[in-house]
Symmetry: C2
Subunit: 593 residues, 2 copies
């Protein structure tokens, strides 16, 4: 079956749960015309259903081929990519000065979910280009921008991000690729990078690589890393393609999923060194990375959301068709679709509720990023930047964790058929498995949340958010709608648990940092469970007052399910954080015995 973008759910999440409407009303989006949101998403949904979704299985089955340094993508992929750029999808949030459409990141975030849901391995290519655009736009010279930015924004050329080396994964500071200064102001780069997504492919004429390397006189660690732009083909003064640069794909990985997305080993310097151009200042490459980290991590979170929604749609359709057994009380001669079984209903609701919560958290991160860039009031900008920084690790880790959980439930609902590859349910699980790993493992996200987002200013960012969420809970309570069940009570418990856990971590961080770090992952889960529950409740409240949304009660039931089945775990997670550290600290006795 194909994928259909759930436009109504997305609009409710974006405009209400994530606060786009309020931000537009407050003037932070200038003269953005909210009317176009739905139209863009409808078009994106159509493109995804018609062009991208049909290639998802094709790409998984065919994978990619490497021969003589050239990568051939799956049948139909180069053509789909050309349709993609022709339709302007690569340029949605690109700068207007360079041919982009200048639309909000929040709108592009929804599109990113749509691309991931329809064909995550395809959507990965523009994600990397987006990071390249961000780095170049923020730190590149005018000359480099004039040569490269327009073609990256249009998608005529794609971009790669090259950080990882065998000994330098999460520990970027351990990288060894080296750069030498050339007389003409350019550089020659030598070394080998691994795990380079779309490092080589046949969908565009040129590929623009962004490579981290060290200068000979650079300090050790992360303070000695510089960022270089290294085109696959050099670009002549007239913009035409020149000589082949000394950067080649020397191997591709055989992976669990994302079969259609080439993961390349890139070798530089076999022929005198790859010609590179410095981005930003020497030895300040990590700062350039930090610039783009928020958006890249958010995009991976959106992959989790998209994969979860795809898995849900497929499982729901299966559960409505597949007949096995019968509802309680029905005659033995009858055969009912398995969706009648309460246990199957629970799995489907779990899938849908988790997906919806991760979606709104991710969209809210995008809105905060937008406001941090677009608002005119410096205080508003700063607050939005703080909010975006706080939400980013949650959007990344919570969404990708639930992406895996939801995809696994999707397999489960299919029963034996779920284990058969042609069903397609297993592909979502395989594809999803990388998302908690790349762009900073989810463990690193959790540590980032505790040490860099919670810790500053006595937890100020977290207290501000909890204040806003509490107001939502008050509203749920004030609604007196019995359909909310115990939603308000569960959310209040969740926020109280979050507050206590936050305080505990703040107390431990200065002098017992290992105790705090031991609780980072359950703390992030607790955060997502409380935050997601409040956001779904706020959407349900909004839906109750809206025209034309159909049965608004379904959003109430969804929020209720999440609060009663997911947020309810908050207290246990809090206690894991605050009472579980000693056992973790004592782990060596167990693990190394």
């Amino acid at each position: 079956m194909t994928y259909r973008a759930p436009i109504n759910d997305m609009l409710l999440a974006l405009n209400h749960g994530a606060g786009l409407n309020a931000a537009v009303a407050a003037g932070h989006y200038g003269n953005y015309d909210s009317e176009i949101t739905a139209a863009v998403l409808e078009e994106a949904g159509r493109f995804a259903s018609e062009v991208l979704a049909p290639l998802n299985r094709v790409g998984d089955s065919n994978g990619i081929k490497l021969k003589d340094g050239k990568v051939t993508t799956s049948p139909g992929w180069p053509d789909a990519y050309q349709r993609w750029i022709a339709a302007g999808w690569n340029a949605v949030s690109g700068a207007e000065a360079y041919g982009g459409q200048g639309l909000p990141l929040a709108l592009n975030a929804v599109c990113t979910e749509i691309w991931a849901a329809s064909n995550v391995a395809f959507g990965l290519c523009p994600l990397l280009t987006l990071s390249a655009i961000e780095a170049l736009d923020a730190h590149g010279s005018e000359e480099l921008k004039n040569i490269y930015l327009e073609k990256l924004i249009s998608g005529e050329w794609t971009g790669t991000m090259q950080l990882t080396e065998p000994q330098a994964g999460s520990d970027v500071g351990a990288l060894r690729a080296r750069a030498e200064r050339a007389d003409d102001g350019s550089y020659r780069v030598f070394g080998t990078k691994i795990f380079i997504t779309y490092g080589e492919h046949d969908m565009t004429d040129n590929i623009v690589h962004f490579v981290l390397a060290r200068l000979p006189d650079a300090p050790a660690g992360t303070k000695g890393i510089s960022l270089f732009l290294i085109p696959k083909f050099l670009v002549n003064a007239d913009g035409s393609l020149g000589a082949r640069n000394d950067i080649y794909c020397s191997g591709i990985e055989h992976k669990l999923g994302m079969h259609a997305a080439p993961t390349c080993t890139m070798t530089m310097g076999d022929n005198g060194g790859a010609i590179g151009y410095l981005i930003g200042e020497e030895n300040r490459g990590m700062q350039c990375m930090f610039t783009m980290m928020n958006q890249a991590r958010l995009c991976v979170g959106l992959e989790g959301v998209g994969l979860a929604d795809r898995a849900y749609q497929q499982a729901l359709a299966f559960a409505q068709e597949r007949k096995q057994g019968r509802a309680v009380g029905e005659k033995p001669s009858k055969s009912d679709p398995i969706i009648v079984h309460p246990d199957v209903k629970r799995m489907l609701l779990q899938m849908r509720a988790m997906t919806a919560a991760a979606r709104t958290i991710s969209y809210a991160t995008a809105v905060a990023l937008d406001v941090s860039f677009r608002a005119s009031d410096p205080a508003v900008k700063a607050a939005a930047a703080t909010r975006a920084a706080l939400l980013t690790p949650i959007a990344k880790a919570f969404s990708t964790d639930i992406g895996n959980e939801v995809a696994s439930l999707g397999v489960q609902i299919h029963g034996g058929m779920g284990f058969i590859e042609e069903t397609g349910a297993a592909q979502h699980l395989r594809d999803a498995r990388i998302t908690p790993i790349y762009e900073g493992t989810n463990g690193i996200q959790a540590i980032d949340l505790v040490t860099r987002k919670l810790a500053p200013n006595g937890g100020e960012a977290v207290w501000a958010l909890i204040g806003e969420l509490t107001a939502i809970v008050d509203e749920v309570e004030a609604s007196n709608d019995p359909a909310f069940g115990s939603t308000a009570a569960k959310l209040r418990e969740g926020l109280a648990a979050l507050e206590r856990a936050s305080n505990w971590l703040l107390q431990r961080l200065p002098n017992q940092p290992n105790d705090a770090l031991a609780g980072a992952t359950p703390y992030l889960r607790l955060f997502g469970s409380a935050l997601g529950g409040c956001m779904l409740a706020s959407e349900a409240l909004a839906a109750r007052t809206m025209e034309g949304i159909g049965d608004a009660q379904r959003y109430v039931t969804l929020a209720r399910f999440f609060a009663e089945n997911v947020t309810v775990q908050a207290t246990a997670l809090e206690r894991t954080v605050t009472e579980g550290a000693d056992a973790v600290t004592g782990a060596d006795a167990v693990l190394l015995a």
Copy 2:
């Protein structure tokens, strides 16, 4: 890296946590010599490490091939199978009257974990044979037993179980394969079966199929199903192989995992009908199935345990070798193995603790089965049968759920390498994904737990177990060992939550069965979390008094970790059961809007 059976952990779990020592002391195992347990397990571990483990990746990469109805297994597999039967591993728990060694099921359960850990796709073949042996032994005629039992027990021939058809999976009663009575007292069977594990292969001369089919005059549903023994090759009076029977492999599945285990479509009747022999009585085939269900489900649970342990061993080794970053407070110039990071420690402990709990639950199920067969006192036998029936769905579902969770954590610890197939971590996740599905989905296990195991006699079986577990908690408290941390308190909360949830379900079952069914899955998880925690605590208590076990404190820390990080979720799970049903019941408004 290869697999090493954790013999000390296994012995502690089997003898103490699972209660083998107590059962032997009570005389339920006759003159079983406990001294041989360790010797058998050491030998099994050696065979697994030397013969089976090296073929695990080979089988995954090569898979199997079907040509002209013949299945070729992976290189080295037929030879390994011959070594397997020559070493007597197929016959461990087989009846002595038919050449088996007559050893306890509990011992075979540990071996089953070892086979699954070293090579789950290989181990699956003897698992199916074991079910065939059970069915034949319990319900077959003396004539059939004399012809087939010895060769199945030795493993010279393998067995299959053929229930599933496209329209009849969990709903076995919907099957349509038909059987006609022949004049000579045999039957002719026609139809197509799917998902038949090792339905065809090249490791033995003959395969003995056990097939469910309907007689022409059979009642509808499960009451009209008969069980037939259908050999691939007919057997002559002198025991030699005769004509090829009319049952053929017409297709194999391309699966997410278990690549080396053929999953066959079997076609019967293209040449006049497969000659079959009735097992048990006509129309009583389902009763024969129920006979073997406990053991088959337990064995799948043990696959979950084995896969979890294999994933853990691999992740632990990686975490000790892979250097990234450094411990808090270390110099930036230093690079530490990632096991120093508290978040990695947490993941490893989670893997180990979950595995250990699932292991003991599974072994305890095997001990209960043994006692139900072996004890002389009818009351003891009956109580043990009730205990085995209660534990079986938990052993199956909890162990296979955690098998997937642990395998996924194993991938996560490997970072980007975890997504690369050659690392091997991903294979465990792919292989594990079928275990919550086959032999009764975990949803069906949960429903079985609630409706058939909890419900009878006002919950008597559950209350008896909670009583025993409470005694363990009392002992933990009485130990006054500060290393237990809040273990006793957490376990007591867990048991209280289990008791309340059980009572709530018992109240709802008669008149609001859907409310009870909606909570079945979280109830099973709650049960496993409380039960597993108590069992690990009992092992820690035992270890503290034992000589020669090394640092016993590690078992205390492990029990503590489980109680503080897993059992702590009990109250939330209870509330999901008792407060979450309304949202599930209201699901249609959400799902079908």
